[in-house]
Symmetry: C2
């Protein structure tokens, strides 16, 4: 007898971890739309619209702005595997777990990886990066914009300038930061940027928007090889060393996403619908408005946590607005509190990785979940739960402080967000 | 001013190409459900249920039955990149485009690829495979079960036995065949099998179910390396050569899908929901019933096409039941007919790749789209359209023959499918 289980019935949740977070209901609806064939004229039009939308999200005029069909780390690997030839030197400034990931992926491309590290909870002074670039002369600098593992955001404007001056390429993993804080691909001279949907874009994980400029294009094109068995007349052998992945070969993705529409994979239709709707909603709100909403939620959340007597993690001047690290109070079981929040309030906050495991919680206020009601609900639930675990907080202080901070920036006394 | 485009509004379509095909509405609804955190107990339960469901779909007891977050070719690359070390010999029997793809991916793993080819429209006699295995002593035989490019299905039972006898591993790409025709992972001694959702499972492209046994597990485990920056105590260096992809490293996916739940990517939540619902619906129908439905649609479609005076492509004894190749009649513009079917009937049929381009159309009857009404609508629309392009068919003959064939197998005279 087959065991087929019941239909899906996910319990109600308020996802306030470091991602994935609650998806905008309009994005969920987009995914429920019927499919189109991959070469249907309407579908290829949607592909072109996705390119146009993400150019705006990434603030770039790069022609090559497209999707990789996989989670955010698929976007990372697509860039690194397509750019790096064995032996190429890569400089990775590490300020959290996802810096380690960039090293890991680059090493598997057999690159010569040079890592520079800064303490978790801090970011790099650009001078340190410039010194490292001068010393090591990397082909590529690979860096995370916002690393949710530490809640830190690395300023990139100066680093982009440094890389261009020293003729290094720079690739940025903006998965956790895109659409939640400023990211200026062209103005900051970033050569390649990749992202995911599941943070401030309010979509599900599973597809990775990315963009790259003509400097990256030149590297990739030199490595182009076309599959046999599709169109014999298109078969060609590039002069450069073949890219070690078929799936992540950006030169093939360029063919698929351009007028030639040379078949590679079959585009993940429903996830493309989601990606299109995520970008559309972000741009309809306006990126600046969206950034301000995230900044406001961050001010409110941090004010609330402080008013509860909790200590914030990391250099607050460089904290990402969409995620907040807070120390677990002495004597309080971190996982017990998280479980109680989930069981009693349907509210999820995040644990931590590596050196921060067991020391901090991470609370996300991202995209659709970046809302006044979420901030207040989280603080109220956390206060009650901490008290039940024996950690006293001044009653109501967290929510009071958060409300004051949320409303402080408004012109007038309105509380009607 | 931002250009944000209109909300999605895909035109109504009847997708009868070689895939993707129409998604079952219940699968579309599953994708519209709210997300859960990736370590939410309910979500990890869903992951376990997905494993149990796909064990039944693949007809295996393999513990390692999981999803790769990418389209079907991501599943292919995950297996090949995780198993193949540079220099390993791989034998690929090619009987269509997707055999070339297996070669392509294996070459990028720097394997020593030996290809044997048979004419498009035919399959291999197992003796030829046995001779090649004896001569070349491959570590791995990689073969497609059903290649939509030629509509052929390669019998695998004997080939599985041959590989086991000669101590070669066998990997099967069952993307186009799974849930549409018999596939016996364990009984046929297949060591690894991967698939996609977008054919007979009636889901969207974008996630790849796969299974592998302890023979493959042993190869993969010897190559295990754990990322730095997650849990220091889990860090280990495998004795084997590191897998060249982080994203496709099956040893890391095993950790993520097992009790240890060591974070790798963030599971593509909505696509996992889709995968779960696809398998659930297939098993609720019953695999045998589903195979019979596909076989019946194939008999009806081929009878109808023949009655219209059209010639079928390839060895009909080995045709896949879910896709039919039919020659484009002399003097008829193949793409013009396809465009008219799309414009006038909202009906999509497929073009062809490589040597068959411009010679045949491919008509899919897969999964949710494998229905009596689809077969009849397609034949009626094709008849009318061919006539408009100057190719006469006996009026109504196609539908009459298809109806007769559809109903022929029923006990009694019922036409109530």
């Amino acid at each position: 007898m087959n065991n087929t289980f019941e239909p899906l019935s996910p319990p109600p949740r308020r996802l306030m971890g470091p991602g994935p977070v609650d998806v905008d209901p309009r994005v969920l609806q987009a995914m429920a739309l019927p499919l189109l064939g991959q070469f249907d004229p309407r579908f290829t039009e949607y592909m072109n619209e996705v390119m146009a939308l993400y150019r705006q999200v990434f603030r770039t005029s790069n022609r090559w702005t497209l999707l990789v069909d996989g989670t955010a780390r698929a976007g990372i690997e697509a860039v690194l595997a397509s750019v790096l030839v064995p032996g190429d030197r890569v400089l990775v400034p590490i300020f959290g777990r996802f810096g380690h990931l960039l090293c890991e992926v680059a090493r598997r491309c057999r690159a010569d990886v040079v890592a520079v590290e800064t303490e978790w909870g801090t970011v790099f002074d650009p001078q340190r990066i410039e010194d490292a670039v001068k010393r090591h002369r990397p082909k590529l600098v690979a860096v995370v914009q916002g690393d949710t593992s530490t809640t830190m955001a690395q300023p990139l404007d100066a680093i982009g300038r440094i890389c261009r001056e020293h003729d290094a390429l720079i690739y940025v993993d903006a998965t956790a930061s895109v659409a939640g804080m400023p990211l200026e691909t062209d103005a900051w001279r970033l050569d390649a940027v990749s992202a995911g949907l599941q943070k401030c874009l309010s979509g599900p994980p599973g597809i990775a928007p990315l963009t790259f400029n003509e400097r990256v294009e030149a590297v990739v094109r030199a490595r182009k090889h076309v599959e046999q068995g599709i169109r014999p007349e298109d078969y060609e052998e590039g002069a450069g060393r073949i890219i070690q992945s078929n799936y992540f070969d950006l030169s093939m993705l360029m063919d698929y996403w351009s007028e030639s529409r040379l078949n590679h994979h079959t585009e993940a239709t429903s996830m493309l619908y989601a990606a299109r709707e995520c970008a559309r909603l972000a741009l309809a709100e306006g990126l600046e408005n969206r950034f301000e909403r995230h900044a406001r939620a961050s001010r409110a959340m941090t004010a609330g946590l402080r008013a509860m007597g909790l200590a914030l993690f990391g250099d607050q001047a460089h904290k990402m607005p969409n995620v907040t690290g807070v120390y677990i109070p002495e004597g309080v079981p971190g996982d017990g509190v998280r479980q109680a929040l989930l069981d009693d309030f349907g509210l999820e906050i995040g644990t931590s990785f590596g050196p921060l495991h067991g020391r901090i919680w991470r609370i996300g206020t991202m995209g659709y979940g970046c809302r006044r009601d979420n901030v207040m609900t989280c603080l109220a639930a956390l206060e009650v739960t901490l008290r039940r675990f024996g950690h006293a907080c001044a009653p109501g202080a967290g929510v009071e402080a958060a409300l004051a901070a949320w409303d402080a920036e408004e012109s007038g006394a309105g509380a009607n967000d």
